[in-house]
Amino acid sequence: MSDEGIGLRVLERLVTTYQVPEEVLILDGGTLGLDLLYYLEGITNLLLLDAVEAQKEPGYTVRLEGEQVPTFLSIKISPHQIGITDMLFAAKLKGIYPPNVVLWGIQPERVEIGLELSETLQNKIDYLVDQVIGELNTWGHQLLPKV
């Protein structure tokens, strides 16, 4: 879904250019919905990366943490729309919500069917990779460039 795939593209850049320490789990949430819940068990720090609706210009990035990260049961038409906020809601009720949660979001330009990112978002990949590395540093994980 074109720009909706931004999180995945950032992770691809990350794992191809950096050595990711063993204790860091990188996951493509894809269409897993509520099944993502089980990856949260025993996790201290959770970093979410996704396209978000921020009502801003394409490429605008936003960082949310703690209670700013929305966790609620959204109104939806289909069980296929069960998304991240529902998953985080269930995590809270199950008592497995990680102590630290940070979300990096970016306003997409296009979300139609397609495999390619818009140029605006392509140009943001490096910036988001740097932010991910920064967050991981804060949590005590050093990522060294691959040689």
Binding site: M1, E4, T31, L34, D35, L37, Y38, D50, A51, V52, E53, A54, Q55, V62, L64, E67, P70, T71, F72, L73, S74, I75, K76, I77, S78, P79, H80, Q81, I82, G83, I84, T85, D86, F89, A90, K92, L93, K94, G95, L103, G105, P108, V111
Partner: protein
């Protein structure tokens, strides 16, 4: 796959038939429970009201409807505490992206608390039972083990990497768990919640025509869930299905046919998008013109409802012994007649009934697989000479059908000169969500919403109840998080042409 198998004249071997039944059967059970607890129950259960529940009274209620072990006052007090701590964190305030507190919620606080507990239990349960797919070489929801001619994961009693005796033991354990939850939690919950909403047995009827392709073939090819269709709610007659009588109409859809005064059979089907609607964002769609991306599938020009209710009605009217028994048990418990099935509540009950009979049937299929392997048969695919396109006829057509959890699913293929000349899929939600056709006949969703009472048109919870009862399949791939917690899925009411027409709009897309 079945379309290609049909085109190339391949019959899958016995083991592949059984494995497909098992994989599809546990899919029904898991999918229906997830639909109920993680989508549809929230239309009937007010989780905020659960905060007013007395855990001891909740325990009494739970124990009065089932001997499910997780039912102590302490257990429900624990669930209530977690809920209270979540609510006090403020996320239900400005982010309350749901209809909590709506006057259409009728359950007492204790029933709400019990349902919240079961919402959480269902999360763990569904994850465990669907491991059956992984054990059989398929990751839910994308089932890799399927191939044209059968399955790819081998059966080999002497190999650890194949389907073997350990696999069978694991499957039996998982299916016992699946059945226990369905019998002791899902069915009792539906029977406990339904009496508070019995007026919904008279709301949301739809078109009154029901289609099932039938599925889960036995060794002779006879489907366990029977094939047939019912017209005008007349359960005294089940008509045979001839796929040649299926067509898709685009007179009200944003596609182009050379002649739009009639539908096209899927083998001749054309999918040529042609958007003629207003420039988004818009507030009004004229339903006399084209107004949707859904084509209108029709059987002998009749709109058809598909899904668990259609399957259970076709089974009931065909005299399927176990379906008749469970349907009658549910009707008797609720004190209603079969006419109650033609409704929103009927759709929800039918999904539960189907889960009950399927969870039982899984045990039979595993026994069938055991007997087949014990006889020395380990074949899992056939027709491999057809994997080479050189062996294909110059031109051939096929149609494959299944009953997906959401209803009748058909694929039509036309192969010419070793290439796909045409491929058309008519999926369950297209039948149910279909727009009007050239005769002006509405599809199931539209018909079902006519006459729905709405307490608050800004919060059309009642519309969601009926739409959710069909279990729509939409937007699997697009999940957008709104950072301000606003609604992205907007359900708005439009009564300009005299009935409630839900416009499902994706804001900002």
């Amino acid at each position: 796959m079945r379309a290609v198998e049909d085109a190339l004249g391949i019959t899958v071997p016995n083991n592949a038939r059984i494995l497909r039944n098992i994989i599809e059967g546990i899919q029904y059970v898991q999918d229906h429970v997830v639909h109920f607890y993680h989508l549809h129950a929230l239309d009937w259960v007010d989780i905020v009201s659960a905060l007013d529940a007395d855990p001891a009274a909740t325990s009494t209620l739970a124990q009065s409807i089932s001997d499910w072990p997780l039912s102590s006052a302490n257990y429900f007090a624990g669930v209530k505490d977690k809920l209270a701590s979540y609510v006090s964190s403020g996320q239900l305030g400005p982010f309350a992206n749901a209809y909590w507190g709506h006057s259409a919620y009728k359950l007492p606080p204790e029933a709400n608390l019990m349902a919240v507990a079961h919402y959480l239990e269902a999360l763990d349960w569904q994850r465990e039972v669907i491991r059956a797919h992984a054990i059989l070489g398929a990751k839910n929801p994308h089932l890799q083990t399927y191939l044209v001619g059968g399955m790819s994961t081998p059966i080999d009693p002497t190999s650890q990497a194949a389907i073997n005796a350990d696999t069978i033991i694991q499957l039996k354990g998982l299916f016992a768990k699946a059945k226990e939850f369905v019998d002791k939690v899902y069915l009792p919950d539906v029977l406990a919640i339904a009496p508070f909403y019995l007026e919904w047995a008279g709301i949301g009827e739809g078109v009154g025509n029901y289609l099932s392709y039938g599925d889960f073939p036995d060794a002779e090819g006879t489907p366990w869930l029977p094939q047939g269709f019912i017209l005008g709610k007349d359960l005294s007659k089940v008509y045979p299905v001839d796929h040649n009588e299926i067509s898709e109409d685009v007179s009200h859809a944003w596609y182009e046919y050379s002649d739009e005064s009639k539908g096209l059979h899927p083998w001749e089907g054309v999918t040529k998008p042609n958007y003629t609607g207003p420039k988004p964002p818009y507030n009004f769609l004229n339903v006399d013109d084209k107004y949707t991306w859904m084509k209108a599938p029709r059987l002998k020009d009749h709109p058809m409802e598909v899904g668990p209710l259609a399957r259970m009605l076709v089974g009931y009217a065909s005299g399927h012994t176990r379906i008749v028994e469970v349907v009658n048990l549910v009707l008797k418990t609720l004190g209603v007649g079969p006419e109650a099935l033609f409704s929103t509540l009927g759709r929800t009950a039918a999904r539960c009934i189907e889960t009950v009979v399927t969870a039982e049937k899984l045990v039979d299929w595993v026994d069938e697989l055991v007997a087949s392997i014990a006889s020395g048969d380990t074949q899992i695919h056939s027709g491999s000479e057809m994997w080479d396109p050189k062996n294909w006829p110059a031109e051939v057509k096929g149609w494959g059908y299944t009953e997906a959890p959401r209803g009748a699913l058909g694929h039509w293929i036309h192969i010419k000169d070793q290439k796909i000349e045409n491929y058309q899929a008519v999926v369950p939600s297209t039948w149910n969500c279909s727009p009007r056709d050239f005769k002006g006949q509405s599809g199931p969703y539209e018909s079902a919403l006519i006459g729905t009472p709405i307490a608050d048109e800004k919060l059309p919870l009642e519309v969601l109840r009926t739409i959710h009862s069909f279990d729509p399949c939409m937007a699997c791939g697009v999940h957008m998080l709104d950072v301000e917690g606003r609604e992205i899925n907007q359900i708005s009411m439009d009564s300009a042409d005299g009935f409630m027409n839900p416009l499902l709009k994706m804001k900002g897309l």
